[in-house]
């Protein structure tokens, strides 16, 4: 062993770090992923941005229309602003309701309530389901005529149209989505809480800190890495929300989301690829906002470390 390390170290101090062959190998091995990345991620992204300034139906000629699509989008496309609003609502609801609730459950379970394993597995159960399936289940519960909720409430004469009423349905869908998200967050925090050093808590208790104080001053700050992950997951879940509303009513009538508008316009018979791309660019801009913020934070953290 020592021999080998010595030889290696010796090589590293030599005049040439890499042989030609090494360079070729590195070039190929780095080049292929970069090419794939360019072709599959950056290519389509840039193409979308380009296409958003055209009117193209996927068949005929590509016609340059400048910012027409964006103008139509902002002023003349009724589902656009509801979609933006719903996306924001989604982010706020998951971030401010579902995530803290997941954290609360994690803390309770971590403190060792009775039957904690049962709760843990029950709450985690929905996480293994696809959101599309959660959507189908939501329909069984919330359907106006045949849903379980109206049957339980017993309002047969004047049933509430949980999924058809555009003022109501987004909340029902958010509850269904949060049902899954809570379990996800809980399991992440449970793992985090297990790794918090018990002596820290003891020290805090000796110093006279109460339960709540200990949690907010001591435990939560030590969970920072988990917090970051949970935050990222919450943002991703909120932005990529699609399947549940698509399963319920194709994202119409109160359930509009940007991702649905992109799909609706681009996929389909007479695709409005130019227009759909413009919606996609809006979604991309929003996502980039979050991605850049996250990266800046991470890089700063790294420098400090």
């Amino acid at each position: 062993m020592p021999l080998k390390t010595a030889r290696r170290a010796g090589r590293r101090t030599g005049p040439r770090k890499f042989s030609n062959r090494d360079l070729a190998v590195i070039g190929v091995l780095l080049g292929i992923p970069i090419l794939i990345d360019l072709a599959l991620i950056w290519g389509p992204t840039l193409a979308s941005i380009g296409l958003s300034f055209t009117s193209w139906d996927g068949i005929g000629d590509i016609k340059w229309v400048g910012t027409d699509n964006y103008q139509a989008l902002f002023s003349d496309y009724p589902p656009f602003w509801p979609a933006v609003r719903n996306n924001v609502l989604w982010l706020a609801f998951l971030g401010l309701v579902a995530t803290p609730f997941g954290l609360l459950l994690a803390v309770l379970i971590d403190r060792g309530v009775r039957f904690s394993r049962v709760y843990q597995s029950t709450i985690y159960m929905p996480v293994v389901l696809s959101l599309a399936i959660v959507g189908f289940m939501a329909q069984l519960v919330f359907s106006r005529d045949q849903g379980a909720l109206n049957a339980v409430l017993g309002n047969e004469d004047n049933p509430v149209d949980w999924l058809g009423d555009p003022d109501l349905n987004i909340w029902m869908v958010l509850i269904a989505a949060a049902w899954r998200h809570t379990g996800y967050v809980m399991i992440l925090y449970l793992a985090g809480l297990k790794s918090v050093d018990a002596s820290l808590k003891e020290a805090a208790a000796i110093d006279g800190a109460g339960e709540v104080q200990t949690f907010f001053r001591i435990v939560l700050p030590t969970l920072r890495p988990v917090n970051v992950i949970v935050l990222v997951i919450t943002v991703i879940e909120a932005l990529r929300a699609f399947d549940i509303v698509y399963a319920i009513n194709h994202g119409r009538n109160g359930l509009e989301l940007l991702s649905v508008l992109v799909t609706d316009n681009i996929i389909g018979e007479a695709s409005r690829i130019g227009f759909g791309s413009a919606v996609a660019v809006v979604l991309l801009t929003v996502s980039l906002g979050f991605i850049v913020t996250y990266l800046v934070q991470e890089l700063r953290g790294e420098k400090k470390g």
Binding site: L29, R252, D264, G268, E269
Partner: protein, 427 residues
Amino acid sequence: MAQSSSEHRISRRALLRGTAAGAGAVALPTLLTACGGPGKEVKIGSNASDAVPRKAFAEVFKAYEKKSGKDVKVNTVDHESFQENINRYLKGTPDDVFMWFAGYRMQFFAQQGLLADISDLWDGFDGFSGALKKQSTGEDGKQYFVPYYYYPWAVFYRKSVFEQRGYEIPKTFDEYRALAKRMDKDGLDAFAFGDKDGWPAMGTFDYLNMRANGYDFHISLMSGKESWTDPKVKNVFDLWRGLMPYHQKGANGRTWQEAAQSLAQKKSGMAVFGLPHPGQQFSDADRSDLDFFPFPEIDSGYGQDAVEAPIDGFLLSKKSKKQKEAKELLKYLATPAAEEKYLMRDPNNVAVHKEASTGSYNALQKKAAELVSGAKQISQFMDRDTRPDFASQVMIRAIQQFINKPDDIDGLTKDIESQKKTIFAAS
């Protein structure tokens, strides 16, 4: 351990080799399909993915193979995916012959130069009405479509409910409204109504428009030539608004299947549907109790002339290298025998050929055939009579909004008109 560095090199090499093999594996299938030269058979792209039509079509094609001694290869794709991918399908390597719809939805692709002209075949056809020919003709006056079957839309009801309560079939809109009012008093929802999927309510709009303003105005409106803020259009929504209190509430949260069930359960009195829709939700025992009447007259100048009857059929792709063989197949599909063969297995549609035997028809099919053969004009349903992007992106939403708030007709029509301008200007 001494070998470790050479091991490294080997693993590097192995990795490279592995990468190369992987790249090959990705490229290989493409090469294979490129090598697969034209076979002997005619290929058919089918959207008949449901069990009943799929089997029925399989028998038709088998019969053709037997008769002609030629091979037919059917590529069946899920119905919805077929529709969603039709653009890419036609631009890529489409099958020689494929299933599609008549009217604007066909003309759109004819205009793009993706369909082969089959006017020469049509010269030899004799069993199709003028209305059918019109629906098979592109905007350039050439024929592109072989009609196969259709299903009319009408107002469906249960005979027993009408008998029991002494309701009479309404002929005019006033009678229709009066009947709805009476049903309401009797504790029924007059109209079973579900528009969660967005399209079922379009049938009601189409009929109201054709009865109030005539077929020509309807078609012209659908092709973007009329303004949606025209008082004639507002009148259509206004007539509909008058009926809204008698429609099942919460339609945007209800599927058409659930609506049809309420008709079957005698909770609703009537429903505007296409022929295949209500029957599927009725039990076998109840099916003979199902009946329909044509949508009532609004303006006596137009009477009940127009019937909404979407036609399904076949198209020949321009890219096909087997124009001759494909045309032979189309010629066979345009015969009464081919249609009969299909309808033996699928009783939810009606043959288009005049000479197709009606022997196997049930009472509803017979009545449907009469309804259409007596029609002066045939429309194709909103999402087939107008640009698909306009129907799906603008009208679905607009009608759902109207169902939520039937009172803001001015705002609604203004909204539709401005979006229509953008969409129709795009190409």
